[in-house]
């Protein structure tokens, strides 16, 4: 669950108004596309959700946690409730597929036993069970993105945040990835996909929130759209 209440973000360093009085609500279990041109404020939106940045004004609630006044030492526990998928995959090249996924579990202090059980299960889920011992360089872009997705999923987060997940892969593969995210969403995980590929978005018929110039300019779920 994500809730923005009148959130503004001004970067002190250059005075840029990245977000301007944004209010929106994404419920638990939803699948939402966030669209907008580059520089529209998508990155700032994501950074605020991950608590990489704090808002200049307004309130942000993510998975029942208030972010605007969250203490630094609590941030890791916020991040454990979300799985992040990156445009550039962010896989560690010297580790195998298995190790890349296991790495995410080690980072949150999971025991070897549970890692050994959980990782093969997740790799099966994303269809990469037979590639467990390969290195990322041996995989196609679509496969690498599925590893990245497996890593995001392995700690069983309430929410998946995908930042331009299809930006670096073939169009056919892109559908596959969104399909997979949609599959994960059906199991109850909230999914948030940030993208600028309107064609892709249209074909799935999910809720779409458009951001432009730091404002929410449209929301396909009209009930929740609060225009200012």
């Amino acid at each position: 669950m994500i809730e923005f209440k009148n959130v503004s973000k001004v970067y002190e360093s250059n005075g840029v108004h990245a977000l301007d009085h944004v209010s929106l609500k994404i419920d638990k279990g939803e699948f939402v596309f966030i669209v907008g041109a580059s520089g529209a404020g998508k990155s700032t939106f994501l950074k605020l959700i991950m608590r990489e940045e704090t808002p200049t004004s307004g309130q942000i609630i993510v998975n029942d946690m208030h972010l605007e006044n969250m203490k630094r030492r609590k941030v890791p526990y916020l991040r454990r409730t979300m799985g992040i998928v990156f445009q550039d995959f962010r896989l560690i090249s010297k580790m195998t597929v298995y190790e890349n996924v296991a790495f995410a579990m080690r980072c949150v202090g999971k025991k070897n036993d549970s890692i050994k059980k959980r990782v093969p299960y997740i790799l099966e889920l994303v269809g990469l069970a037979d590639k467990a011992d390969d290195h990322p360089s041996e995989l196609s872009g679509g496969e690498q993105q599925r590893v990245s997705l497996a890593r995001a999923l392995v700690n069983n987060p309430e929410m998946i945040i995908a930042d331009e997940p299809t930006g670096n892969i073939d169009p056919e593969m892109s559908y596959e990835i969104i399909e997979l995210l949609s599959e994960i969403n059906k199991r109850g995980t909230t999914v948030l996909v940030v993208t600028h590929e309107h064609e892709l978005v249209k074909s799935f018929g999910k809720r779409v929130i458009a951001i432009d110039d730091g404002r929410v300019v449209s929301d396909s779920d009209d009930d929740k759209f609060v225009a200012i």
């Binding site: 990155s43 994501l46 950074k47 991950m50 990489e52 940045e53 030492r73 890791p76 526990y77 916020l78 991040r79 454990r80 799985g83 992040i84 962010r90 560690i92 790495f103 995410a104 080690r106 980072c107 949150v108 202090g109 999971k110 025991k111 070897n112 890593r151 700690n155 930042d163």
Partner: protein, 299 residues
């Protein structure tokens, strides 16, 4: 504790990844520790020498070269009459040269017998009250025909002032080296962190705590500290053994060997190594982890 084992392994990997910087850190830390250890060994030995000679209450009085043996023997009575002198013992110049010959080998002194003997007649003087040492020595010096007075006590005093000079000097050098080694270690760790910033961004994105991110880097620092301590202990053992052996040939004293005092030194070295390692890594980690705003998306 499976994740701790994993973190220790990562720490070792980091160390090898940055071999050159790790070696530089170890080198500086070793010089720092060996210097400290040497200063400690010197101080211990000097004070033990001072203690042992301070106990022997014998002052040597050398007479003028041109005195005949008979004149020299008469001077003994004059010296004995001085207040506070309890006993005097005449030492023939032949006896003195014999003593040197025994200590330093035959050849050099082979021809120095009879009239060719360059040594003066001398006396061993024992005093009643050592607190009056200086005034008594002054009185002995007033006696006509007395060339010089020397005692182990003077040697002891000179040694003590020399050792305190060396100790102060090395204290400053050690301080400078400690600062340098902290600086180099924290730079080594910062380089490791920089080369691992990609992994760190992933760790942070999946919710690793700062403590977890830190541990491998602290372990790297601690390993540098421990390796340095081990090398320093070995070097100090070899060095002090060699130095004591060679000094013993010239000046025979019951020197304190490294092995007699090694446990406190080893303890201190290990503690110092570990502390410098932890402190050095904490400095660089703190600066890195507080870098806000770009830890995930903009690494």
């Amino acid at each position: 504790m499976s994740s701790f084992g994993y973190l220790v392994k990562e720490g070792f990997k980091n160390l090898f990844h940055n071999r050159l910087m790790s070696l530089a850190s170890i080198g500086v830390l070793v010089s720092c520790l060996v210097l400290t250890g040497s200063a400690v060994m010197l101080t211990i030995n000097v004070s033990s020498i001072v203690d042992s000679v301070g106990d022997t209450n014998v002052t040597k009085v050398f007479l003028d070269d041109n005195l005949t043996k008979l004149e020299a023997v008469y001077k003994g009575k004059e010296i004995k009459d001085i207040d506070n002198v309890s006993d005097v013992q005449f030492i023939d110049k032949d006896e003195s040269i014999e003593a040197y010959r025994e200590q330093l080998g035959e050849e050099v002194f082979a021809n120095m017998t009879g009239d060719d003997n360059p040594l003066p007649y001398s006396y061993s003087v024992v005093m009643e009250d050592l607190s009056k040492y200086d005034e008594t020595v002054a009185k002995i010096k007033e006696v006509e025909g007395v060339a010089s007075v020397s005692s182990h006590r003077e040697v002891a005093a000179k040694l003590t002032s020399l050792s305190s000079f060396i100790t102060t000097m090395s204290l400053w050098i050690i301080l400078a080296l400690a600062v340098i080694s902290l600086f180099i270690i924290s730079n080594t760790i910062r380089m490791t962190m920089f080369s691992h910033r990609f992994e760190i961004s992933i760790m942070k994105s999946v919710g690793a705590t700062n403590a977890f991110v830190r541990v491998p880097f602290i372990i790297e620092g601690v390993i540098i500290g421990l390796v340095s301590a081990a090398i320093s202990i070995g070097l100090l053992f070899i060095l002090s053994d060699a130095i004591i052996k060679s000094v013993q040939k010239i000046l025979d004293f019951p020197y304190v060997q490294f092995t007699q005092v090694m446990w406190p030194i080893i303890g201190a070295f290990v503690a110092a190594g570990v502390l410098v390692g932890i402190f050095g890594s904490m400095v660089s980690i703190r600066r890195y982890l507080t870098h806000e705003g770009n830890e995930i998306l903009g690494w």
